[in-house]
Symmetry: C2
Subunit: 134 residues, 2 copies
Protein backbone atom coordinates (compact mmCIF):
# COMPACT_ATOMS: atom_id res chain seq x y z
CA UNK A 1 0.00 0.00 0.00
CA UNK A 2 2.79 2.42 0.94
CA UNK A 3 4.66 1.42 -2.21
CA UNK A 4 1.53 2.01 -4.31
CA UNK A 5 1.14 5.50 -2.83
CA UNK A 6 4.77 6.31 -3.46
CA UNK A 7 4.45 5.08 -7.06
CA UNK A 8 1.39 7.30 -7.55
CA UNK A 9 3.22 10.28 -6.02
CA UNK A 10 6.19 9.69 -8.29
CA UNK A 11 3.86 9.50 -11.33
CA UNK A 12 2.29 12.83 -10.39
CA UNK A 13 5.62 14.50 -9.65
CA UNK A 14 7.26 13.41 -12.91
CA UNK A 15 4.16 14.28 -14.94
CA UNK A 16 4.04 17.73 -13.30
CA UNK A 17 7.72 18.27 -14.14
CA UNK A 18 7.27 17.11 -17.76
CA UNK A 19 6.25 20.54 -19.04
CA UNK A 20 8.44 23.60 -19.73
CA UNK A 21 5.91 26.12 -18.33
CA UNK A 22 5.57 24.19 -15.07
CA UNK A 23 9.36 23.86 -14.76
CA UNK A 24 9.67 27.63 -15.39
CA UNK A 25 7.08 28.29 -12.64
CA UNK A 26 9.13 26.18 -10.21
CA UNK A 27 12.34 27.96 -11.24
CA UNK A 28 10.64 31.30 -10.59
CA UNK A 29 9.34 30.15 -7.19
CA UNK A 30 12.81 28.96 -6.21
CA UNK A 31 13.66 32.70 -5.97
CA UNK A 32 10.94 33.17 -3.36
CA UNK A 33 7.23 33.14 -2.56
CA UNK A 34 5.09 34.85 -5.19
CA UNK A 35 1.54 36.06 -5.80
CA UNK A 36 -0.33 34.17 -8.54
CA UNK A 37 -0.72 37.31 -10.67
CA UNK A 38 3.00 38.21 -10.38
CA UNK A 39 3.97 34.67 -11.25
CA UNK A 40 1.73 34.61 -14.34
CA UNK A 41 2.94 37.95 -15.77
CA UNK A 42 6.08 36.81 -17.69
CA UNK A 43 4.27 33.94 -19.42
CA UNK A 44 2.79 34.48 -22.88
CA UNK A 45 -0.52 32.87 -21.93
CA UNK A 46 -3.73 33.76 -20.08
CA UNK A 47 -3.91 33.87 -16.29
CA UNK A 48 -6.36 30.99 -16.58
CA UNK A 49 -3.84 28.85 -18.49
CA UNK A 50 -1.11 29.57 -15.93
CA UNK A 51 -3.58 28.79 -13.12
CA UNK A 52 -4.19 25.36 -14.61
CA UNK A 53 -0.45 24.65 -14.57
CA UNK A 54 -0.25 25.87 -10.97
CA UNK A 55 -3.11 23.59 -9.94
CA UNK A 56 -1.27 20.62 -11.45
CA UNK A 57 1.83 21.57 -9.44
CA UNK A 58 -0.33 21.85 -6.31
CA UNK A 59 -1.86 18.41 -6.92
CA UNK A 60 1.67 17.01 -7.20
CA UNK A 61 2.38 18.79 -3.89
CA UNK A 62 5.33 20.65 -5.45
CA UNK A 63 3.65 24.01 -4.81
CA UNK A 64 1.79 25.26 -1.75
CA UNK A 65 -0.76 28.06 -1.56
CA UNK A 66 -1.13 30.45 1.37
CA UNK A 67 -4.18 32.71 1.38
CA UNK A 68 -4.17 36.08 3.16
CA UNK A 69 -7.56 37.65 2.61
CA UNK A 70 -7.96 37.71 -1.16
CA UNK A 71 -4.25 37.42 -1.84
CA UNK A 72 -2.88 34.01 -2.76
CA UNK A 73 0.83 33.36 -2.23
CA UNK A 74 2.60 30.40 -3.78
CA UNK A 75 5.73 28.69 -2.55
CA UNK A 76 7.68 25.50 -3.18
CA UNK A 77 7.55 22.20 -1.36
CA UNK A 78 10.70 20.18 -1.98
CA UNK A 79 9.64 16.72 -0.74
CA UNK A 80 8.26 15.39 -4.06
CA UNK A 81 11.39 16.65 -5.85
CA UNK A 82 13.54 14.77 -3.33
CA UNK A 83 11.54 11.59 -3.98
CA UNK A 84 11.94 11.92 -7.74
CA UNK A 85 15.66 12.57 -7.32
CA UNK A 86 15.96 9.47 -5.12
CA UNK A 87 14.43 7.19 -7.76
CA UNK A 88 16.53 8.64 -10.58
CA UNK A 89 19.73 8.50 -8.53
CA UNK A 90 19.09 4.88 -7.51
CA UNK A 91 18.65 3.95 -11.18
CA UNK A 92 21.76 5.84 -12.25
CA UNK A 93 23.76 4.00 -9.60
CA UNK A 94 22.54 0.60 -10.83
CA UNK A 95 23.16 1.52 -14.48
CA UNK A 96 26.65 2.76 -13.66
CA UNK A 97 27.46 -0.43 -11.74
CA UNK A 98 26.22 -2.51 -14.64
CA UNK A 99 28.24 -0.55 -17.21
CA UNK A 100 31.34 -0.87 -15.03
CA UNK A 101 30.82 -4.63 -14.80
CA UNK A 102 30.39 -4.91 -18.58
CA UNK A 103 33.50 -2.84 -19.07
CA UNK A 104 35.54 -5.11 -16.82
CA UNK A 105 34.20 -8.16 -18.67
CA UNK A 106 35.10 -6.74 -22.06
CA UNK A 107 38.60 -5.86 -20.89
CA UNK A 108 39.08 -9.36 -19.47
CA UNK A 109 37.95 -10.95 -22.76
CA UNK A 110 40.20 -8.64 -24.72
CA UNK A 111 43.17 -9.60 -22.56
CA UNK A 112 42.37 -13.29 -22.98
CA UNK A 113 42.11 -12.89 -26.77
CA UNK A 114 45.59 -11.41 -26.77
CA UNK A 115 46.84 -14.54 -25.02
CA UNK A 116 47.72 -12.68 -21.88
CA UNK A 117 46.08 -12.78 -18.50
CA UNK A 118 44.04 -9.75 -17.43
CA UNK A 119 45.96 -7.49 -15.08
CA UNK A 120 46.06 -8.63 -11.49
CA UNK A 121 45.04 -12.21 -12.28
CA UNK A 122 48.60 -13.55 -12.09
CA UNK A 123 48.40 -13.43 -8.30
CA UNK A 124 45.46 -15.86 -8.20
CA UNK A 125 46.81 -18.49 -10.61
CA UNK A 126 44.26 -21.31 -10.69
CA UNK A 127 46.94 -23.95 -11.59
CA UNK A 128 48.19 -24.16 -8.05
CA UNK A 129 44.80 -25.31 -6.76
CA UNK A 130 44.99 -28.52 -8.80
CA UNK A 131 47.17 -30.41 -6.38
CA UNK A 132 45.08 -29.46 -3.43
CA UNK A 133 42.13 -31.48 -2.18
CA UNK A 134 40.68 -29.22 0.46
CA UNK B 1 17.22 26.40 -30.46
CA UNK B 2 19.49 24.07 -28.48
CA UNK B 3 17.63 25.05 -25.31
CA UNK B 4 14.29 24.29 -27.00
CA UNK B 5 15.52 20.84 -27.99
CA UNK B 6 16.77 20.14 -24.50
CA UNK B 7 13.42 21.27 -23.06
CA UNK B 8 11.61 18.92 -25.45
CA UNK B 9 13.95 16.06 -24.53
CA UNK B 10 13.38 16.70 -20.85
CA UNK B 11 9.59 16.73 -21.40
CA UNK B 12 9.79 13.36 -23.15
CA UNK B 13 12.11 11.84 -20.57
CA UNK B 14 10.03 12.92 -17.58
CA UNK B 15 6.78 11.88 -19.29
CA UNK B 16 8.29 8.48 -20.10
CA UNK B 17 9.37 8.06 -16.47
CA UNK B 18 5.93 9.11 -15.13
CA UNK B 19 4.47 5.60 -15.31
CA UNK B 20 5.06 2.63 -12.99
CA UNK B 21 5.16 0.05 -15.82
CA UNK B 22 7.74 2.02 -17.75
CA UNK B 23 9.84 2.51 -14.61
CA UNK B 24 9.60 -1.25 -13.95
CA UNK B 25 10.78 -1.95 -17.53
CA UNK B 26 13.81 0.29 -16.98
CA UNK B 27 14.53 -1.39 -13.64
CA UNK B 28 14.41 -4.78 -15.38
CA UNK B 29 16.70 -3.60 -18.17
CA UNK B 30 19.20 -2.28 -15.65
CA UNK B 31 19.94 -5.96 -14.95
CA UNK B 32 20.94 -6.46 -18.59
CA UNK B 33 19.83 -6.56 -22.21
CA UNK B 34 16.57 -8.42 -22.77
CA UNK B 35 14.36 -9.76 -25.56
CA UNK B 36 10.98 -7.99 -25.88
CA UNK B 37 9.05 -11.20 -25.10
CA UNK B 38 11.15 -11.97 -22.00
CA UNK B 39 10.73 -8.42 -20.80
CA UNK B 40 6.95 -8.52 -21.24
CA UNK B 41 6.41 -11.84 -19.43
CA UNK B 42 6.21 -10.63 -15.77
CA UNK B 43 3.71 -7.87 -16.57
CA UNK B 44 -0.02 -8.55 -16.17
CA UNK B 45 -0.84 -7.04 -19.56
CA UNK B 46 -0.78 -7.99 -23.22
CA UNK B 47 2.45 -8.05 -25.23
CA UNK B 48 0.92 -5.25 -27.29
CA UNK B 49 0.38 -3.07 -24.22
CA UNK B 50 3.97 -3.63 -23.06
CA UNK B 51 5.20 -2.87 -26.60
CA UNK B 52 3.47 0.51 -26.48
CA UNK B 53 5.27 1.35 -23.25
CA UNK B 54 8.57 0.23 -24.80
CA UNK B 55 7.99 2.43 -27.84
CA UNK B 56 7.45 5.41 -25.57
CA UNK B 57 10.74 4.64 -23.83
CA UNK B 58 12.45 4.37 -27.23
CA UNK B 59 11.03 7.73 -28.35
CA UNK B 60 12.45 9.24 -25.16
CA UNK B 61 15.77 7.58 -26.10
CA UNK B 62 15.90 5.79 -22.74
CA UNK B 63 15.77 2.38 -24.44
CA UNK B 64 17.61 1.15 -27.52
CA UNK B 65 16.64 -1.74 -29.78
CA UNK B 66 19.12 -4.07 -31.48
CA UNK B 67 17.73 -6.45 -34.11
CA UNK B 68 19.43 -9.76 -34.87
CA UNK B 69 17.38 -11.47 -37.55
CA UNK B 70 13.89 -11.63 -36.07
CA UNK B 71 15.05 -11.22 -32.50
CA UNK B 72 14.79 -7.79 -30.92
CA UNK B 73 17.03 -7.00 -27.96
CA UNK B 74 16.42 -4.01 -25.72
CA UNK B 75 18.95 -2.16 -23.63
CA UNK B 76 19.22 1.08 -21.70
CA UNK B 77 20.62 4.42 -22.74
CA UNK B 78 21.52 6.54 -19.76
CA UNK B 79 21.96 10.00 -21.35
CA UNK B 80 18.33 11.20 -20.97
CA UNK B 81 18.34 10.01 -17.35
CA UNK B 82 21.50 12.01 -16.72
CA UNK B 83 19.84 15.10 -18.23
CA UNK B 84 16.75 14.70 -16.05
CA UNK B 85 18.95 14.21 -13.00
CA UNK B 86 20.91 17.36 -13.87
CA UNK B 87 17.77 19.52 -13.98
CA UNK B 88 16.37 18.08 -10.75
CA UNK B 89 19.71 18.40 -8.94
CA UNK B 90 20.15 22.02 -10.08
CA UNK B 91 16.69 22.82 -8.71
CA UNK B 92 17.35 21.05 -5.43
CA UNK B 93 20.58 23.01 -5.02
CA UNK B 94 18.77 26.35 -5.57
CA UNK B 95 15.93 25.36 -3.22
CA UNK B 96 18.39 24.28 -0.54
CA UNK B 97 20.39 27.51 -0.86
CA UNK B 98 17.17 29.51 -0.56
CA UNK B 99 15.98 27.56 2.51
CA UNK B 100 19.40 27.97 4.15
CA UNK B 101 19.31 31.71 3.50
CA UNK B 102 15.80 31.94 5.00
CA UNK B 103 16.94 29.91 7.98
CA UNK B 104 19.91 32.20 8.59
CA UNK B 105 17.66 35.25 8.31
CA UNK B 106 15.16 33.85 10.82
CA UNK B 107 17.93 32.98 13.26
CA UNK B 108 19.47 36.42 12.93
CA UNK B 109 16.09 38.08 13.57
CA UNK B 110 15.48 35.82 16.55
CA UNK B 111 18.89 36.65 17.99
CA UNK B 112 18.27 40.37 17.50
CA UNK B 113 14.90 40.10 19.20
CA UNK B 114 16.63 38.52 22.22
CA UNK B 115 19.20 41.32 22.20
CA UNK B 116 22.08 38.82 21.78
CA UNK B 117 24.42 38.01 18.92
CA UNK B 118 23.61 34.92 16.81
CA UNK B 119 25.09 31.69 18.25
CA UNK B 120 28.54 30.65 17.22
CA UNK B 121 29.97 34.15 16.97
CA UNK B 122 31.71 34.11 20.36
CA UNK B 123 33.15 30.61 19.89
CA UNK B 124 34.90 31.41 16.63
CA UNK B 125 37.33 33.81 18.34
CA UNK B 126 40.78 33.04 17.00
CA UNK B 127 42.37 33.53 20.47
CA UNK B 128 44.23 30.21 20.59
CA UNK B 129 45.96 30.75 17.29
CA UNK B 130 47.17 34.16 18.40
CA UNK B 131 50.41 33.02 20.02
CA UNK B 132 51.44 30.90 17.03
CA UNK B 133 53.11 32.28 13.96
CA UNK B 134 53.44 29.24 11.73
Amino acid sequence: MAVMTMQANLDQTLMALADPTRRAILERLSKGESRVTELARPFAMSLNAVSKHIRMLERANLVRRRCVGREHFLSLNREPLDEAAAWIEAQRAVWTARLDALDALLRAEEAQAKGTRPEGRAASKPTKKKGRTR
